[in-house]
């Protein structure tokens, strides 16, 4: 991509965020700025803090220190339930659907009123239904809408989870290993969905181990190692740097 795009205002920024588990520093004073357009990938060896970073950004884990700058606001505490208001949503590495409710309800549940009082007796509005139908057709799960989420195959679960995130209609999407364990056919489908979202102007951030996919999709890349930033920049440039190659081979 061109330089003008990498200098575009960042959608999401961190300022020296830290997280440690006991003595392990999973994320250590990490400062990154994720560009607001295009796809950004986060790569790094196992245990380098990629998932932890996503958990910190989405409020799934509390910050031990530092600042998350999102939507122009600097946050010391990221509450998970506020992240959609900041324009951010995510998927999980280990697919986390609502297992014992239907596929349809899995999508519907993220479309409705957030405060409890309006939700209390709220019926499914036509525009919710329309949106859910649109999403389910897009991820190819429309025929399965009556099935319980726990009865889906792994690939279908992954697709449904991405669909659930898409239904949120926010600016920034964090995908935690969206391609892991998928068959080629499903993999193409997920790629297409993500490209489509990028073309609509969303910010896509994803974690991936497969360098071919990273090369193909990402415009910008962050390489993490032991919770710190090893390298960042354009994909080809970064992936050919000696320290990056060493980090991977040394692992």
């Amino acid at each position: 991509m061109t330089t003008s795009e990498t200098q575009a205002p960042s959608a999401l920024q961190t300022d020296k965020v830290s997280k440690h588990f006991g003595a392990v520093r999973a994320v250590d004073e990490l400062s990154i700025a994720i560009p607001s357009t295009g796809m950004t990938s986060i790569v790094g060896p196992n245990g380098s803090g990629k998932s932890t970073l996503v958990n910190l950004l989405s409020g799934t884990l509390p910050l031990d220190g530092g600042l998350v700058i999102i939507d122009g606001k600097g946050l010391r505490v990221v509450h998970a339930f506020e992240t959609p208001d900041h324009g951010l949503t995510r998927t999980f590495q280990e697919v986390r659907l609502f297992d014992q409710i239907t596929v349809w309800d899995n999508i519907m549940v993220v479309l409705t009123s957030r405060p409890w009082l309006p939700a209390l007796f709220e019926r499914a509005k036509p525009d919710y239904k329309q949106k859910a139908e649109e999403i389910l057709k897009k991820v190819g799960m429309w025929e399965k809408r009556g099935a319980l989420a726990q009865n889906l195959s792994y690939g279908q679960r992954k697709l449904l989870e991405i669909g659930r995130a898409m239904a949120m209609e926010v600016k920034v999407y964090l995908f935690d290993e969206p391609f892991a364990g998928l068959f080629p056919q499903m993999l193409e489908r997920v790629k297409d969905l993500m490209k489509e979202m990028r073309d609509q102007g969303h910010t896509i951030v994803f974690i991936e181990h497969n360098m071919d996919i990273v090369r193909e999709l990402s415009d910008h890349i962050f390489v993490l190692d032991s919770g710190t930033l090893l390298a960042e920049g354009e994909v080809e440039d970064v992936l050919n740097r000696p320290e990056v190659i060493e980090a991977y081979l040394g692992d």
Partner: protein, 335 residues
């Protein structure tokens, strides 16, 4: 042969429902109309309690053992507020203030008061899950029992309150058993409608999502704490309604009806009938009450152990359900 077995397997819920309801009606009518009316009233009250509790256990996935406490708070509030000043209590026991409110005026107060108690308790219990939640709510039931037993100036402690008014509207006082049955059925229908609307609303859907994965639903912008708290309070208020109906029915309450072990019986209504199924709670209440009443008619059972035999059967039923049907008879959620 094979086909009928398959039919049975595919329609097991319908078959169970028909068998239970049909059996219940046949049994009750065989014992006479009066028996049917009284038993039906009790079933109605426990069904109300079970439906409310199902909001917490079945839909939110929190095994609450506290509801006997809310049931008791509702019953005691009505009892204290409606104490008839014209009835002279025996000399030996404490005099409690006789307010003499009508039952229907005391009911909303009981419900609101229970709601407030539940709200306060809920702030604490909201932080727990699974077995820790179950066992700490048991603590609430114990504390509630302690209050009933020891707050002598209000509850008269172990002596109980004997002067509870029956519901009445104007000149129509519901003295006949069938009239009380009408009231209970009216409230049962109201509660069923309210709960049906809740569980089929966006709110209900979020509750089930909280049950499945609380952390994930927060990521999508819902404050799980508030949702759980509201569901909990509504459920407690319904329990208070059931308690008020029970107090009006038997016109006498004492702390022993609200010992925490009774809470396990109420929980078994929900689990046996079906988790996350309102209709299941009605079924569960039917099974539960008829088990108690039916025990008296089992031939060869020594006198005086019906109550215990019911406990034993409930226990066995729970074990069998957990092994083979963890969602209960017609449930939608497997533990």
């Amino acid at each position: 042969m094979n086909q009928s077995a398959r039919f049975l397997r595919e329609n097991i819920e319908m078959v169970l429902t028909i068998v239970i309801i049909g059996g219940a009606i046949a049994f009750m009518l065989s014992q006479g109309v009066r028996f049917t009316i009284v038993t039906g009233t009790i079933i109605g009250i426990y069904a109300i309690l079970g439906i409310g509790l199902n909001l917490v256990i079945g839909y939110t996935g929190l095994l609450s053992v506290a509801h006997i406490g809310f049931f008791g708070v509702g019953a005691y509030t009505v009892a204290v507020l409606t104490t008839d000043p014209n009835i002279e209590p025996p000399k030996s026991i404490d005099v409690i203030p006789a307010i003499g409110m009508p039952w229907f005026a005391a009911l909303p107060i009981a419900i609101v008061l229970t709601g407030i108690v539940a709200l306060l308790a809920g702030f604490v219990f909201n932080r727990f899950r699974d077995d820790v939640f179950a066992l700490t709510t048991f603590g609430f039931a114990l504390i509630a029992l302690g209050v009933f037993r020891n707050w002598l100036p209000v509850t008269r402690g172990p002596f109980g309150i004997r002067e509870i008014a029956k519901p009445s509207i104007g000149i129509w006082d519901f003295n006949e058993p069938w009239e009380y049955l009408v009231i209970v059925m009216f409230f049962l229908v109201v509660v069923l409608i309210i709960c049906w609307l809740i569980v089929h609303s966006s709110f209900g859907r979020v509750l089930t999502a909280i049950r499945e994965d609380e952390q994930a639903i927060e990521v999508f912008g819902y404050k799980a704490t508030y949702y759980k708290l509201v569901g909990w309070v509504i459920s407690a208020m319904i329990a208070a309604l059931a308690g008020a109906l029970m107090a009006g029915l038997i016109e006498f309450i004492e702390p022993t009806s609200y010992v925490p072990l009774e809470s396990i019986l109420i929980v078994s209504i929900v689990i046996i009938g079906g988790l996350a199924s309102l209709w299941g709670s009605v079924l569960g209440a039917t099974v539960f009450v008829l088990l108690e009443e039916g025990m008296r008619f089992v031939p060869g059972l020594p006198v005086g152990i019906e109550g215990q035999a019911r406990w034993a059967i409930l226990g066995l039923l729970l074990i069998v359900l957990m092994l083979f049907r963890p969602q209960g008879l017609v449930g939608r959620y497997k533990l």
